[in-house]
Point group: C2
């Protein structure tokens, strides 16, 4: 078992009606609020009105940062920082999914960044020590940004999508009812993201970190059980709540405590796809993951034991032939994504071979793929992309 | 799934050599340290010297609170608060097991208590809003006091042992090698405490909080696997590390998030036993738990499903007859404790029937046993005690 440091200061209010804690959560920091949100779905669902009512009744002064993109762009971060400076913002309130929270984190961090170039902060400085406080209300179970300090920002000019460690939310309000209105497609893609956060760390060489592996398997089984229910019955509270509980822990590092780090290769590869093609992150992960699995199992058969465990403990499969069992576990994952109607090839999301070389080159520069569960070279990355066509 | 609030600000340094973070952990709060410890085992193991070297080299001023009892007493808390006031203490450093950390928590809280009577604070005020910062170095995997805000203090004058919510440690240093020297008996009793922290919440009416139940089952299975290894090979790092990882999460509420609360009945009953007889907490819990299980299963057969799940998922048992399966799970637990050489009857720890009435009366006053998984009356408590003779 490896050493780990646990350091997550976020307070979480989980469950129906927990928005009742919004006023107190903001008030501790001040009266001037930057309200950050996306393309307006919170206006359709009524959550915007609910939030504004609480803010108005509480006497808060609200500045809005709206229109944050699904893959949030550096321009939105720049706009947010400027708004915070112009309006003496005390606290940022992000209402939305992971993209909105990621962008808000970069704004909180960027407020105290002393340089001029916020993209330089994202790419090289990787956040700041001091940041504005952040409160969020989550509306999509996917990224886990509500319970970690990470954020992923895109720069379409340079075709880059990069993660940094900005700041933990001070408070996250997780009410599963806010995800009732999420479309089937986004529910499925978000769940693929949750599962990927787990699988990236689960496939590690460490054999004896039992709590971490148990949490990982539990989360995978919970998503496998609850996602189909949420797709059939969007208002099923129990299914939505279990997905939200899973997502908040999945990206927190907790399912990897005591394990050798893996450098999260599928996330590296996927960030290339969405930096170049602006596709849905979870979809990219769903396409990549089973192909990455088959590739590394072939490249390094000594990692087979971990796939056997995955097949048995996650998918409940049994069998004498361990190699066959390992492959059946991967097939089960791919079939699950298909059954949830996620596009399962690059061609289905209009991606061809044109940038494979460039993307593979870039991911090997920005991510330590030599430290992965099974190390990957540039040629390996191109081979995996090709398997996804 | 029920609502929950997650609010654990503690930073954890887990693993071999993590004492290297001690200086920085204390320094952020100041230079005047109250060093709290127990009966001197840390002097035998060399940990006391290691800590003093770091404190001396760091230029800290050290005041000692030594001799904290295994069931820490209110007099030690009083002595600690007085030392803090006399020596302008900035931060308390607890080095030891749960008893030392519990006492230190009460001292941190008691420092800011405005009344004269610290027992009144423990019994009625249940802690204070403000407290001195606490750093701990854990030397026994048992209570989970390193990752919660609770502490249990005894008053031998009134035969009371009561829990309160004092303060979370700011920093906990969990190095499994510090538990290599723990005796077989204390290792086993400590593990019984870990398992009890899980079982108290696991036996709940809530069926759909999947992550919580998965974490609970994982921790139980990990203890069942690793305790016998640690008993055979006290220096087995992996076994000691898994026990320590389990203990820090087991009492944190995390394994109960989303579940109906249960009022932790066995802890209520055990606190009576150790308040009257000063026995080892984990031993009391090991004696009580299987008897409590058989009693409630008989009293309310509608709770059988949960025992069947326990038998299958924790003990790997199978069978057609669900009632038989439920009972076999309980038998497996009792046999496990016996195999680990924990005394499994009250008579073995010199407890007779003389205070049953009084203890049952008291526990019904101080604990909401009517809110337990299966509600318990005073007569039920006496019956369970009697089954333990």
């Amino acid at each position: 078992m490896e050493n780990y440091i646990h350091d997550i200061p976020t307070k979480v209010y989980f469950g129906k009606g927990m928005i009742s804690h919004l006023d107190e959560s903001l008030r501790q920091f001040g009266k001037n609020v930057l309200l950050a949100y996306g393309g307006g779905s919170i206006k359709k669902t009524g959550l915007y009105d609910e939030v504004m009512k609480i803010l108005n009744e509480g006497g808060f002064t609200v500045t809005e940062l709206s229109g944050i993109e699904p893959n949030p762009r550096i321009e939105s971060v720049e706009r947010g920082v400027q708004l915070c400076k112009e309006n003496n913002i005390d606290v940022v309130l992000a209402v939305g999914g992971g993209s909105v929270i990621d962008c808000a984190k970069a704004v909180c961090s960027g407020f105290y960044y002393e340089g001029d170039d916020l993209w330089y902060m994202v790419k090289y400085v990787k956040g700041t020590k001091k940041s504005l406080p952040l409160v969020d209300i989550l509306t999509l179970s996917a990224t886990g940004s509500d319970f970690d300090n990470g954020g992923v920002i895109s720069n379409l000019k340079t075709n880059e999508k990069l993660g940094s460690g900005f700041t933990f939310p001070a408070v996250s309000i997780l009410d599963p009812t806010y995800t009732f209105s999420v479309s089937k497609y986004q529910t499925a893609a978000g769940s693929a993201d949750i599962m990927s956060h787990i699988m990236e760390g689960y496939f590690s060489k460490t054999e004896d970190s039992e709590l971490a592996d148990g949490i990982a398997e539990t989360i995978l089984k919970s998503v496998i059980k609850n996602l189909p229910i949420a797709l059939r019955e969007p208002d099923n509270y129990s299914a939505r709540a279990n997905l939200m509980h899973a997502e908040s822990v999945a990206c927190s590092d907790i399912p990897e405590y005591g394990k050798l780090s893996t450098s999260w290769p599928c996330h590296g590869l996927e960030h290339e796809l969405s930096a170049f093609y602006d596709i849905t992150h979870g979809t990219g992960l769903a396409i990549l993951t089973p192909r990455w699995m088959r590739f590394i199992l072939k490249k390094d058969p000594s990692c087979q034991w971990r796939f056997v465990r995955f097949a048995k403990n996650v998918w409940g499969l049994e069998g004498e032939d361990e190699h066959e069992l390992a492959l059946r576990g991967i097939d089960a994952l791919e079939q699950f994504f298909r059954d949830c109607e996620i596009p399962m090839s690059l061609s289905e999301v209009n991606i061809g071979t044109e940038h494979f070389e460039e993307m593979a080159e870039h991911v090997c520069q920005v991510r330590a793929l030599d430290k992965a569960f099974v190390p990957l070279t540039k040629e390996d990355v191109i081979a995996i992309f090709t398997d996804c066509l």
